[in-house]
Symmetry: none
Subunit: 211 residues, 4 copies
DNA sequence: AATGAATGAGGGTTCATTCAT
DNA sequence: TATGAATGAACCCTCATTCAT
């Protein structure tokens, strides 16, 4: 209610987080991010309290706010982090393949492995749709962009049909995510390799019986 | 507005909601479900308060608990309802097609139409993953079950490869959902028909260039 | 962060408080106001917690927010209340006097009595300058307006100098308030009557020695 | 900007602040006091954080506690400083007048000028009533003491009525403060000179019409 | 069945102060 | 002296749920 003159611009823009200026700060910030990943992964965004995070990180409650503006801010930082980690888990495995179709198989396989190893925290990305839609959308647009890029290269190389594009890339992303949820999170009753092989055959030749 | 009446005996345990015994009760219960669909769709589960629902339904706060045990209970009822509505929107359109592949095209097209017409409330199903995982999983297992069923029939009819099965069905479900999110919710920059056509060609013959 | 369509106007304007619809509600709201007056008066706005108020009122914490939007809202309501009570304590006493100058004496005397009887809670009005400047200013502008009105009438009646006006009214208000603080709140080492008599002589004839 | 240096031995107990032993220390302490004056003036005591002060002063947060024991301590130091500054602004102007009544006019005029030039930070003194009552009371008792002293001298000189004393001094103080708030802070719609002239005529001869 | 007031645990955030460097 | 990270008690407010009418 009280409103008086303020002759200064409001500090710095509300970016995702404050940058540490000391080694200790860097350590603490990292500990908070790791703890948050575990807690959000285990209980979800809404059921996780700041105290859950700080307790796991081994710091006092107030310390949280030294490094993050809010619960949403750390969540957003985590989504970006996860997004990068998925990419880093997939990219190097693409080199294993020597064809456009094979690269998609390698990508799915790597993705399934990553999800299996990070079952809980992987879901952070999907929860972002309901917590921080921007970062969720940003993640998937980037991901699909990379798939589309690969498809285009496959087409240029004469391996894939000419008109493959964004629609096909979104379709592949959807396939991968659902297969990950079903076979890496819910019930791993098929080996990742087998799942990747079958899905890849669909990509390669479709479902129709050969005449 | 949204018709969430449930004319079938509920598949879920009767703890979810109480059955009305008067016409007035039926109206009130319906009003609450409609209001909840709109509010959950617009703001999401956690940002929606019981008062948002009762205000929109035009009843007093306490009345909510005459009809539903909890916020989760009404959400769960809505998910079941949405699930049925998606099915009811898709099933009749399958008859338009005269081949196994064509049926998947019809299914996707119908799904995209449904999502476009129910953009906000459709997302209730996806949010269920983080609010009420059981109903989310139940929805997708049922949905995928139906797809798998169709694929099996296509195989039996000699149209599809022999070994199509669950993996392919999950892949299709994922494709459909992501294409819905991208082209029916986020930015409808391609007509549903075109999206369905391209995705269906992928299913029919894969991505590889024909030799 | 999540921002979705909202097709309704935001309920009612944030007036000072919600109007009770039942007798019980009226009682509760009154109890909260009384408790708040006592607590704010004793500890000041910032040192008073909502729990101090609800504890004294004998209701649960959450009940506070059934009747008031915020701590500031109840404070504002109290200032308006106090303002009216001061006026109601002073106005009837004006009739005791039969001259313009005499009316100012009666007013000050009544004011001193009021402050003495309500030492603590009277200060709420002054604290408003730093908590809710609008209501503070509103109170004093109204008060001074009433004084100025009386002075004008005295001038019209030929009792006071022609040009008495707003400046004189503010001067009188200041006198009264400081005399109240000093002789009714801090140390009542002179009877109200004596204080009023001396201050009134100043108003009547000034300080200069008669030649 | 604001000069809050205190060149005199502090009248208050030495717990209020630590004395600098180096030139650098002196500069830092001064910077903190200046920053605090600006911030407290602009936002009030409670809305001002230590970080607001240190940020404006250009020092690190921890440095604050090198020079002041607490937020209250620096506030108290500021009140004492403001009190001295008001006095220093008024005292020399008394020499302009050659009568007891004239001295009160000069005092009010000087006070109005001071308040106009220091609108925001002047209010620190009044906020002290709710932050640090002792210093607030000390300020006004000193101020009123000086006024009473002048009145006594006027009486001794035969210019003022015999019995002028403390009551009249409090009345004058109240007048001055309210006129300052109204005509120097809120809306300067009359020149200080005119305000002082009218208020002084009230002091000189009262309000009654001359017969 | 419906109403609207009452409940109180819980949660996110602030901020004066302390401390290790 | 200065720095900036760390601390944790305190606080306001929300909201799902209960209850008396």
């Amino acid at each position: 209610m009280v409103d008086v003159a303020n002759d200064e611009p409001p500090a710095s823009p509300p970016t995702v987080a404050r940058a540490p200026r000391t080694a200790r700060g860097t350590r603490t910030r990292r500990a908070l991010l790791d703890a948050a990943a575990t807690e959000f992964g285990a209980r979800g965004f809404h059921a996780t309290g700041i105290t859950d995070i700080t307790r796991r990180a081994g710091v006092a409650l107030g310390t949280f706010y030294t490094w993050f503006d809010s619960k949403e801010a750390i969540f957003q930082a985590l989504v970006a982090d996860m997004s990068a980690r998925v990419r880093d888990a997939v990219t190097p495995r693409l080199a294993d393949a020597d064809s456009a179709i094979g690269r998609e198989r390698a990508a799915l396989h790597a993705f399934l492995d990553f999800v299996a190893e990070n079952q809980l925290i992987y879901r952070i990305i999907d929860e972002a749709e309901f917590v921080n839609p921007e970062s969720h959308r940003a993640h998937y647009e980037t991901t699909v962009g990379r798939i589309a890029q690969r498809l285009k290269e496959g087409a240029r190389a004469g391996e894939l049909r000419e008109e493959v594009g964004e629609v096909e890339a979104w379709a592949i992303a959807g396939m991968n995510v659902f297969l990950g949820l079903r076979y890496a999170v819910w019930s791993p009753d098929l080996p990742a390799e087998e799942v990747a092989r079958r899905a890849n055959r669909l990509l390669a030749e479709g479902l129709a019986r050969k005449r």
